[in-house]
């Protein structure tokens, strides 16, 4: 039964290697060809961001204050606001609550390299570090790095000022951003939300981080599940995704069209002992009993490709038996916004009433109509989330 306080999606801003917007993504998913960059970081393939006309959503002056991570996010936020018919509407924007899932921003790689090269040879290494940080760091770069400044930029550029919160913590931060927004809508703690995040994979420091964890896929492109036979690994992807989520009543009152409904979002954690993630997922799934028909349901999986979690999720999904698609096969794994982007894929699929074709030899075609999508969000390290996205 439709309820006034249902959380519905009325706008999606999505940018990735597959292009910009839901139509471009839908078409790319239905004619899938992987887009990778194998040369910028030799030996470390990734999914690069598509060419963007940044001026459309961010003035040149503001672009100069940001690095790519913030540009991707601020751009995707602008696209979501536009799609929802909220962009530029000061009244609505001043009541809009924002929850951003964020990591940190880019560093000045040349300045780092110069210090790393010079410091070991310096007579006084500590003084050398201080001196070079003082002279080489651009004052404004700090503001391009702070986690909460993606949200800060969105307030500044788009005027979203009802409230602003930033969640951190890789995949789980995206899942919890959507969960908290939907819970607040359900409880009447807000009517209109902007939820999202962005990721820049084209950065040596993030590649470095996951290489230290020995988690990167360094071979020619293969889908998330297909990689497992060769040891598994993550192909990171640059991505920005924001959703405008609002109460059904609020959307109806302003004449906005709901693309899909987020019927539920659950998230939990465990130490990832044998079977613990599966136990969390089973609990989350059991809570959805009777809310969807398996015959018209599919899974959009957040599997990252990281070996242990992906192998365990694969087994869980095989048991579940629903057709599944791993978003990371299409646009790479994007940590913080990954779950949100997979919700966007789910919303697109249920609004089209069909699932897009398999992205990987392990995925089965689905030729019957689609009504419900279950979105998994198992973090590559921690965190297990499950959302249920359905027709409005």
């Amino acid at each position: 039964m439709p309820h006034d306080r249902d959380a519905v999606i009325t706008g999606i801003g999505l940018i990735s290697c597959l292009g910009e917007g839901v139509d471009a993504h839908w078409s790319a998913l239905n004619n899938f060809a992987p887009v990778t960059d194998d040369t910028s970081f030799p030996g470390f393939p990734l999914h690069p961001m598509a060419e963007l006309a940044l001026d459309k959503h961010i003035s040149k002056r503001e672009q100069r204050q940001m690095e790519p991570w913030q540009r991707f996010g601020t751009y995707a936020a602008g696209a979501a606001l536009e799609a929802a018919g909220v962009k530029g509407n000061t009244d609505l924007l001043s009541q809009m609550h924002m929850i951003v899932a964020a990591g940190g921003g880019e560093r000045d790689y040349a300045a780092d390299a110069a210090i790393l090269s010079g410091l070991p040879k310096a007579a006084d290494p500590d003084a050398y570090l201080n001196e070079h940080l003082l002279s080489d760091l651009r004052p404004t770069l700090f503001l391009a790095q702070l986690s909460n400044l993606l949200a800060g930029n969105i307030s500044l550029v788009h005027g979203v000022v009802g409230s602003s919160r930033t969640f951190m913590g890789e995949e789980a931060s995206g899942a919890d951003a959507v969960r908290i927004a939907c819970a607040r809508i359900g409880a009447g703690q807000g009517d209109l939300f902007l939820v999202g995040g962005s990721y820049n994979a084209q950065r040596p420091d993030v590649l470095l981080h996951y290489e230290m964890g020995r988690l990167l896929w360094k071979q020619p492109f293969a889908g998330v599940w297909d990689r497992q036979a060769a040891g598994g690994g993550m192909l990171l992807g640059s991505l920005g995704c924001f959703l405008v989520v609002e109460s059904r009543a609020h959307a109806a009152a302003r004449g906005a069209t709901a693309l899909a409904r987020i019927a539920s979002v659950a998230s939990d954690r465990c130490r990832r002992g044998p079977g613990e993630a599966t136990a969390n997922a089973r609990k989350q799934l059991a809570a959805l009993d009777g809310t969807y028909d398996a015959a018209s349901a599919a899974v959009i999986s957040g599997a990252s490709g990281a070996p242990a979690a992906t192998a365990e999720e694969k087994e869980f999904l095989t048991d579940l038996g629903l057709p599944a698609r791993a978003g990371a096969s299409a646009f790479g794994h994007s940590l913080e916004p990954a779950f949100i982007a997979n919700i966007a894929l789910a919303a697109m699929a249920v609004s089209h009433g069909t699932l897009f074709p398999p992205l990987d030899s392990a995925e089965k075609p689905m030729n019957t109509p689609l009504r419900d999508a279950l979105v998994t969000g198992w973090g590559h390290w921690r965190g297990e989330a499950l959302a249920h996205v359905t027709t409005p």
């Binding site: 006084d124 760091l137 949200a151 800060g152 409230s163 919160r165 359900g186 470095l208 998230s267 939990d268």
Partner: protein
């Protein structure tokens, strides 16, 4: 006291708190120092400060962690204050806290110690590039760096250790983060999702790069000769804030739940308000609108009028801009009472604990109400005629207060105010 508030929502109370700052560990030590006007600010000894414009901070040097880094020390401080708060609250069982964790955490990033170690491991001689670091990253064992510098690791480790329920949320709204964490906990209890929540704000990120980053924004005091006198909120000669470390934890609980288990109630979180500012990345909107809206939202949420507020725990950073803007906001919200309502800044003594400030200062506000004693604003020697506040200058003052407001305003335009009420 009724179990529900003016809007029929569960009343949220505090049943345990824990604090560590540069003044010491534990709320008793902190309260004694804070109300005797002691400063925790000192010359930095953790790392060489040669060439730096600011050479002082409120670092916590009395807590050891192996392989010091901001997340490692932040996590350790959080453990200390959570332990204190849970012990006072006597809730749950050891390792089994019966609610979720909301954590205000500074952004996490690999630091120079690790970067230099990777550079050394790469064997590169003349010049070191990120290509060399990438090569080194995959050889040898650097997995502990990877795990330590995941944004999720502090929250995950705390959740595992204290047995909090569900997915831990780590939040950053810059200097308002502690307030945001409290608000997330209050909202969860009001939604009826949980009867209790563990809220912690922690920040131990004083290292050369972070100090220099703030310094380059001209945000820090350079009164290096007298560190204990450098933080002087509301004084005409204030010249910036002092980076500091600390942590604060609160056990939030529905009143009904606390009462049913016979818990001692420390105070009430009566309301929270927030508002974002779209004016500038580091500066407040000159008309003070977001700050005003934030305080008004908090009062409305608490169901109180400005007249009912007896004390303001200021954001009071001691930067020329913040203290002036805070006055603009306070004078708009409190009208004629603005210059007579006591408004003091804990930061005059503990410095700016950044991510942790909102949590630490909410706890100090609870203690203020509980003890009937207003902590002073120290170093108030030169009043600023443009900011005519009663800042409780230099000496603590007895006062019975029923309702107080704690302000937090952050870079990036993120503002949170929390209204605290006395128990019973």
């Amino acid at each position: 006291m009724q179990d529900t508030d003016h809007l029929g929502r569960p009343v949220v109370v505090v049943t345990g708190t824990g604090i560590v700052t540069s003044l010491g560990q534990g709320k008793d030590a902190n309260w004694a120092a804070l109300t005797s006007g002691k400063s925790g600010i000192h010359r930095i000894t953790r790392f060489p400060v040669a060439g730096m414009k600011t050479t002082m901070a409120g670092t916590i040097d009395f807590v050891d962690v192996p392989e010091l880094s901001a997340p490692a020390l932040s996590e350790r401080l959080a453990e200390l204050v959570i332990g204190e708060a849970i012990a006072e609250s006597a809730i749950g069982a050891p390792g089994d806290f019966p609610g979720p964790l909301f954590l205000a955490l500074p952004p996490v990033e690999m630091e120079w110690t690790q970067r230099l170690a990777l550079a050394a491991d790469s064997g590169a001689n003349e010049t070191v590039t990120y290509d060399d670091l990438l090569r080194a990253a995959g050889s040898g064992d650097h997995r502990r760096y990877y795990e330590r510098f995941l944004f999720a690791s502090v929250g995950e480790n705390l959740a595992a250790r204290f047995g909090t329920k569900g997915s831990p949320i780590a939040t950053s709204t810059a200097c308002a983060s502690g307030g945001t964490a409290i608000q997330l906990g209050v909202e969860a209890i009001r939604r009826g999702e949980t009867e209790t929540a563990l809220v912690v704000g922690t920040d131990a990120s004083v290292n050369p790069e972070s100090l220099i980053r703030f310094s380059l924004l001209s945000a820090l005091s350079t009164r290096n000769d007298t560190p204990e006198k450098a933080s002087r909120p509301f004084s005409k000669d204030r010249d910036g804030f002092i980076m500091s470390e600390g942590a604060g934890a609160l056990v939030l609980e529905s009143l009904a739940h606390a009462r049913a288990r016979g818990a001692t109630i420390v105070g009430v979180v009566e309301g929270c308000g927030e508002a974002a500012d779209g004016f500038h990345r580091t500066r407040s909107s000159p008309d003070g609108k977001p700050i005003i809206a934030c305080m008004r939202n908090a009062l409305e949420d608490a169901g109180l009028s400005p007249d009912q507020i007896g004390y303001i725990n200021a954001h009071g950073t001691s930067t020329p801009e913040n203290d002036r803007m805070e006055w603009t906001g306070v004078s708009a919200v409190f009208g004629e009472r603005a210059s007579s309502i006591p408004i003091s800044s804990n930061k005059s003594m503990i410095g700016h604990t950044l991510t942790a400030a909102g949590a630490i200062e909410a706890i100090f506000t609870l203690l203020t109400l509980r003890h009937g004693l207003l902590p002073p604003t120290i170093n108030y020697d030169t009043p600023d005629p443009a900011v005519p506040v009663d800042c409780v200058p230099n000496v603590a003052r007895p006062a019975k207060v029923s309702h107080a407001i704690s302000n937090s305003f952050g870079f990036g335009g993120q503002n949170v105010c929390v209204v605290i009420g006395a128990a019973g």
